[in-house]
């Protein structure tokens, strides 16, 4: 049973457009949600993260939204750039147990 589900599996957007990636989870004990960005041939790198006490966090063109009631979160990228083309993983952590669970990732392609 997959605890963290991401959608879509892949997505293509035009340069300048807005990208929206979504993630849902089952375990209500999850309370920390990082998003990792992975370029081909590299390891993932932390992009942005949010704690369950917040509903929004912004960092430049990247914003993550969290909805505790629906157990959903999303990552929005405004003014998407070809350099944003990468695989994006959402993850969820129970900070009591320390266990981090990753989703299967979304492959984003931004076309010029």
């Amino acid at each position: 049973q997959q605890q963290v589900r991401q959608s879509p599996q892949s997505l293509t957007v035009w340069e300048g457009g807005t990208t929206v990636l979504t993630c849902s989870y089952e375990d209500s004990t999850f309370n920390y949600f990082p998003w990792y960005q992975q370029f081909p041939g590299e390891g993932p790198a932390l992009l942005i993260s949010i704690l369950s006490v917040s509903d929004k966090k912004e960092d430049g063109r990247f914003t993550t939204f969290f909805n505790k009631r629906e157990k959903k979160l999303s990552l929005h990228i405004i003014d998407s750039q070809p350099g944003d083309s990468a695989t994006y993983f959402c993850a969820a952590k129970n900070t009591n147990t320390g266990k981090l669970t990753f989703g299967d990732g979304t492959v984003l392609t931004v076309k010029p």
């Binding site: 963290v4 991401q6 599996q9 309370n31 920390y32 990082p34 990792y36 041939g41 590299e42 390891g43 993932p44 790198a45 932390l46 993260s49 704690l51 993983f89 952590k93 900070t95 320390g98 266990k99 981090l100 990753f102 989703g103 299967d104 990732g105």
Partner: protein, 114 residues
Amino acid sequence: GGIITQTPKFLIGQEGQKLTLKCQQNFNHDTMYWYRQDSGKGLRLIYYSITENDLQKGDLSEGYDASREKKSSFSLTVTSAQKNEMAVFLCASSADRGSNERLFFGHGTKLSVL
């Protein structure tokens, strides 16, 4: 800043072979991890270590051994490589496992088994 170095970058093995992957970090981080990444899948935890000589099993530990003899290094052994197995093994480290934990990853070792 620091860096995570994984060796080798590519590893080709034979079915049944014992294979060892190495990871070094110079962040001086206490916690280190080994994840497996299959194509189109998320990262699955194999082993982690919260300090030198500590080992904790993850969800995917069967078929693997790990060793943390120094704070800066963490190695992973595939005890018997499976035919046609293909995956990327990622090593990571973090300063602590509390809230806002940030993992720093290496570039991975890509394993192919003939």
